[in-house]
Symmetry: C2
Subunit: 512 residues, 2 copies
Amino acid sequence: MKKIVFSVALSCYCLFGLTQQNSQDKKQRPNIILFLVDDMGWMDTSVPFGDSIYPLNKQFHTPGMERLAKEGMKFTNAYATPVCTPTRVSLLTGMNAAHHGITNWTSPIKNTNTDNDDEQFLPANWNYQGLSPVAGIANTAYATPLPQLLKENGYFTIHVGKAHWGPAGTPGASPYNMGFMVNISGNSIGHPQSYLGEENYGNIPGKTSANAVPDLQEYYGTDTFLTEALTLEAKKAMSGPIKNRQPFYLNMAHYAVHLPLYADKRFFQKYIDAGLDSTEAKYASLVEGMDKSLGDIMDFLKQNNVDKNTIIIFMSDNGGLALAPPRGGKPNTQNLPLKAGKGSMYEGGIHEPMIVKWNALVKPASVCSSPVIIEDFFPTILEMAGIKNYKTIQQVDGKSFVPLLKNPLSETKERIFTWHFPNKWIPGDGPGINYRSAIRKGDWKLIYNMRNGSKELYNLKNDLRELNDLASQYPAKVKELSFLLTQQLRKWQSPMPLLKSTGKPVSMPDEL
Amino acid sequence: MKKIVFSVALSCYCLFGLTQQNSQDKKQRPNIILFLVDDMGWMDTSVPFGDSIYPLNKQFHTPGMERLAKEGMKFTNAYATPVCTPTRVSLLTGMNAAHHGITNWTSPIKNTNTDNDDEQFLPANWNYQGLSPVAGIANTAYATPLPQLLKENGYFTIHVGKAHWGPAGTPGASPYNMGFMVNISGNSIGHPQSYLGEENYGNIPGKTSANAVPDLQEYYGTDTFLTEALTLEAKKAMSGPIKNRQPFYLNMAHYAVHLPLYADKRFFQKYIDAGLDSTEAKYASLVEGMDKSLGDIMDFLKQNNVDKNTIIIFMSDNGGLALAPPRGGKPNTQNLPLKAGKGSMYEGGIHEPMIVKWNALVKPASVCSSPVIIEDFFPTILEMAGIKNYKTIQQVDGKSFVPLLKNPLSETKERIFTWHFPNKWIPGDGPGINYRSAIRKGDWKLIYNMRNGSKELYNLKNDLRELNDLASQYPAKVKELSFLLTQQLRKWQSPMPLLKSTGKPVSMPDEL
């Protein structure tokens, strides 16, 4: 990997950051909150992100998100990766998943490739040991993490909730190694053993799994739901820098709304009363609990007189889970009108609800339809923090969307987005799930299926639901996108699964 | 409890703290490290704190402490309480244990009185739910914690290691509720389930007890000893405020050298080779591992050019454990020449190794023999931090020892110290153990045994070993000290055990 070294003048930022006043004047560096939800689908909200209000928008109640959308900008074409760790690493590094090579979720246990066994393929040589800020560890992506740069530039960096950047026994297990100064409840795990204070979030002597949620001991044996406990702790953590007049970065990364589906009692009955089946009522209660956290944090900022100078970025890490069971309802209907869900290359797996509030720049209740992708968050957040010259070990792939915040129509070029999932997420394949790559350029999206070499082509502007495969109709577009996708994968030396029959990597999209 | 409100002018400190430069000039507010060891005895070191070099001083190797003593001031008459939680709470509140009422160690599980059953007594109504910064919780001491004041005055407050201020399910379980901005591995537990990274410090699915050490996941499955892992994390935590030019307070509270006795492999063999039995070799290796942490932190400060402006206060929380087994050797010989050990009112239970390094004030290799006690740390640390006017919920009992740092002979008055242990720590009574109160005035010390009403009197100047009970020789002194002790206990409404036979509290010392 090439080292990129800019001339750096970081020290001035430190001084600037620490001598500033907390009055809400314009010169002050903003606080930044990334509010990252786990496994939340594009439609799991009463805020409509589609071209109209869909039935799911009526099913979910998210007044906090409604409030945020009213004060900020809604992004209707925001993307992540199909599963969680790749998204979380892209966010921390600015790299596309095909580039950092952490293409699947990482195990809480080290030296464990989470890929399922497959009859046709041997596993790709992906970076299943996760992100590492330390060089020389096999199967890790070595990179400079975003919070490290924020910390070095005077930000007070806080992580709360799910981390999931690498397994226990590696540096990636600890948010402190990523440049966070505070860590509450983040480590190697990807989901909580339990959401319940009554169950000590899983920390019950003799019954603890690898997924017990760390910290939060003061809530043991109480009825404090995990989402609420994390919110209370986040507020506590922000109070330090607010008192000390230091700008902060909060990575508010909820475990909600990931499995296991526990009823958040504060909201569960309401959804039962509305006629949802008990599983979906649990899910909807997890969503509304998460949404309450957002509202509570907005209230807290206001009470502390820092709301105007605090940016909030709302995002989910992949599509809503559409396997049923464990979800209720028919499989692959949980993100309608989007196709499929988490793990899939269809829009249901990667299309995300995203909102940005920034009083200084963003027009209230505005909308941006320009596509953005998770690796864009890295340069964006640094630009928001006023950090202009920085050095990173990695080549950053993302592009700041700050210009879009100023003017949602400012993007005139057709950007190219890449997705890459050379892994086996679930034992059986599903719609768009396992061994897929995809590329979007303008309105066109090509999906490559490594399993059989087939390609699908969709025009998302006319067909966001991906119902009409146009591959046979537009062979030139298929060829162009296959070429671009291959070029990208070759450039990044992206991991590819190996054919058991030959021991060789699967063909590139343009070889077929 | 009376509320004491001073007129406060805190905000100016915040600004001052954050605009200061990190150059080592004299006007800069110092960083403060409290290096608190668990269960370390007065003689568990190669630094002699007694009137001569004793055999134990030759048995232990503590080059870090030697270095600290060479650069700072050794306190030869420093006191804590007989067990850990009372000391830790006195430190955080400035209150004597007889005043805050947390007289025994607190359970990791809430609503659990840790007192052993007794034939003669019902338990005293002590505050077994620990310290609480929140009012209205039964059996807690409600007080303003030291780190809260430091945080409010611009300090970056870090806790690393053992906390043990209150049980899970109460606010006292979380260092964040005490005003710490960073917490690594502190919660309700009083000792680690395991010191070994190979054993995930106790966090093994299905085998986890209530004493598994939180956090530290990156070291799981490695050979990183707990003491070392905490040291590495402390350095990481300090790097933030050092970079941001913010003064920090580090509560470096090692789990070492508390049970369970694990060999710290880095040092174990050396003590076996020196002829120690395996249990004592384990203990000595725990001590030297802790000492290495001190040295490493001193090196780190130097490398970061903040050593001259960083105060280090070395202290232990109670006397060395002298129950054997689990310690090796004969019972009650582990702190010789001091009598008995942890849990006891004799000097072996409360007399502590203490060193303070502060370049701006303290003469290198100096010695102070004026008695100081754990509640003195609260006003001292605030004075060190330049915080002069502050309000606390509690009445502070301690007295700053900053004048002694300037001039070890400056104390001219005979201070009165009180100890109170109306509890049953171990099932059988031991020397000075269970149901004792004590008072020291000048060189005289009186110990009151609630069990039978007996009193012992020692002159510590001539008889630090407490071999000659002078009670029958000096009845007037016994009367005077009994009166003073009673006066103190009454003023503080200190908890007393109840006689099973009458249901009434045990007699006060001056009633007998």
